[in-house]
Amino acid sequence: MMQRRQLLNTLAAFGCVLASTLIPQAPASAQTKTIRMWTFLSATGTTPREVALAQIIKNYEAANPGTKIVVETQVWDQMTPKFLAAHRAGNAPDISWVVTDFLGDAIGSGSLADLNELFIRKWPAEQVKDHASAYWDLTKKGDKQYAMFASPNYISIVYRADLLKAAGIDPASIKTWDDLRAAAEKLTVKNAAGQVTRYGYAQGFSEQQADPHMMIPYLLGEGEQLFKPNGKANFASPSGVAGMTFATDLIKKYQVSPSQSATWTVDDLFEQFSSDRVAMIQGPSVRVSSLQAKLGKENVGQMLWPGNGKTAHSPAVMAGWAVGVWSKGPNKEEAGRFVDYFLGAESEKIWVTVGGQSPLMASTAKAVASFVDQPGNGYIRVAGEGASKYGWLTPIEFNVGGYRQALNKATQRILVDGVAVKAALEEAETRFNRQNNR
């Protein structure tokens, strides 16, 4: 009898222990939601934008203990096609950053959820108005908002302020393309043996990690378009030829830009810039803060593209990153809540003051005015002014993937194979049209 009671007691105690371990676990596992987000930034990285990303996520998780944001870092130029493939395979992340070049595909594929449904419809009208910009319009189709921009990227001239100052060049004095060439000539330095130790201007022309070509602002400044209304390339137009001639003449004729840049990637270009080998480069506003971290805050600045004498400035390519919620994701509501915070007023201040990005919301621009006025932060104002007055976004009505590579290849053909500018651009047009079935 005693033994039986002992056995029952033991079983009861075991049952209690088991129950005590199970009871707290069940609600915890049910409450914790993991939201996967694809971006090219790392939440453990040390660049200004990565620090900002980590801080925003930390703030959100602190305010929402039941949600865990997992950042899955991807290679930037492959991330959007990979997201589209993952959407088709049914295993895309809850949230993904989408590059402008593939925005039309992302929306057309049905991979992005309508943010109006998820959270924007709850906003007051003033909040919606606060977001008004070309970026906002680009991600809107009909009455649906498919994404919101997280990283507006204004691609123009990034310069070494210290080197320009030493050469007696005021960036504001570079008003025309000829001024730009003259400044590049002045900034080019040769040693006693006649070897160039520093070039005035450079851009990378590799097909890998390709940035938009400098002939694009030249062409747009003349009032031409890069694509015809039917989506076919319009590279070899008279303005396109003039723009490409200007870019390649900097290398071939004036030798103020390195011939080696025919195979430089964007990263190679930044290495050269950071190594004092180039004074001015074509660069995006989002990389200025990283370059400042390396070279000193006051030593790196950004200026608008020069005009053609008739217009003050030529339009620059704005090739940023929009953030969207996966339409088939199992955690759309939670993902939407995070995106709402991630790109809201509180977070945008962090994106600007910590990440060094230019603001998208009018209220943020006002709130950070004193920060922008601080030495070294002038590029934020330049990028903001450029985006509102002199910006160009790639169309989303048709796929434009490959246009950067096509123009860079044309440059390589001119510089390395000696092909004539017009012929190289016509080749690029044919290639682009064929690749896109046009």
């Binding site: 589209l84 070897q195 590799s206 011939s259 195979t263 080998r277 796929n399 590579q405 390395v416």
Partner: protein
């Protein structure tokens, strides 16, 4: 052999065959099905038959890409084989300890990540902050831009490929050399054969199987490599190092033309199989 014993054998291999079908052949079959459709936003839409394949034939630049792929593969495989064979014969003659150390050194490039190794080469040769450029300038030689010249860019690509894969080839050939009994060489010496005759008439024929294996593996790995050209040259300058895997990669991930990318990948797959069959046939390999 009874029907029962025949079925028993089939039953033994059936699970392995099913796994192979699932892992190896199902993606190919899916890829083929996928290539028969028009693809929009990464998803198949209308049935297009062989349209994606016909578009490959219409591409006037694809022939040149194929030629470059053949040149790159032939040069890289031939050079790797010659260097690996020489190294294997040399290591086989070394003492045990020294031989082991040399083997470890030789195999290092093979075990390093391809992307990391190729990036190292790029940083050495990239103009003009690379190590190679600095050394050239220090020697007073005019700046040589290896990555900017079509010929030297291809030569560099072949060089990196040889460097990366020679370790694997050495290990396989060395295993083959170790498997040749010493008696054969001793008998040949007694018969008056010189070292060259011993190598040419005895060692080389006995290395036929490992040589064939290495040739097949090297050919396939060079023909299908995308990391090395992508990181080192990006297919440039111009189209100088644009080989078939880069073409597939660009179609799939730059212009997002998954239809023709899949069609081209499947044509390459068929080419790979034909090449292996041709090698085996040419070498009269009997099991």
């Amino acid at each position: 052999m009874t029907m029962y014993s025949r079925l028993t054998g089939v039953n033994y291999v059936l699970p392995a065959m099913a796994l192979l079908m699932l892992v190896l052949f199902s993606p190919v079959l899916y890829g083929f099905w996928f290539s028969l459709f028009r693809i929009q936003y990464g998803a198949p839409t209308d049935f297009a038959g062989l349209e994606n394949y016909a578009r490959l034939l219409d591409d006037t630049e694809l022939g040149a890409t194929l030629e470059r792929s053949a040149l790159f593969t032939c040069c890289a495989v031939a050079l790797t084989l010659v260097i690996a064979l020489a190294l294997a014969v040399w290591i086989n003659r070394l003492g045990q300890r020294l031989g082991f150390v040399v083997q470890m050194i030789v195999i290092l490039p093979w075990i390093i990540s391809t992307v990391v190794a190729t990036l190292l080469f790029r940083w050495v040769f990239v103009s003009d902050i690379g190590l190679a450029g600095s050394l050239v300038r220090m020697a007073g030689i005019p700046d040589v831009q290896l990555l900017n010249n079509p010929g030297s860019a291809m030569a560099l690509l072949i060089g990196v490929s040889v460097w990366k894969r020679v370790g694997y080839a050495v290990i396989i050939l060395l295993a083959g050399l170790k498997g040749i009994p010493d008696d054969y060489e001793e008998a040949a010496k007694i018969d008056g054969a010189n070292p060259w005759q011993i190598f040419w008439l005895i060692v080389l024929p006995l290395l036929k199987t490992p040589l064939l294996l290495v040739t097949i593996v090297l050919t396939l790995s060079n023909l299908n490599t995308v990391e090395t050209p992508l990181v080192l040259t990006g297919g440039g300058p111009g189209d100088a190092t644009r080989i078939l895997p880069i073409e597939v990669f660009d179609r799939a991930f730059v212009t997002f033309d998954l239809g023709s990318a899949t069609a081209l990948a499947l044509v390459m797959f068929a080419g790979n199989i034909l090449l292996v069959l041709a090698y085996v046939r040419l070498a009269k390999w009997k099991t």
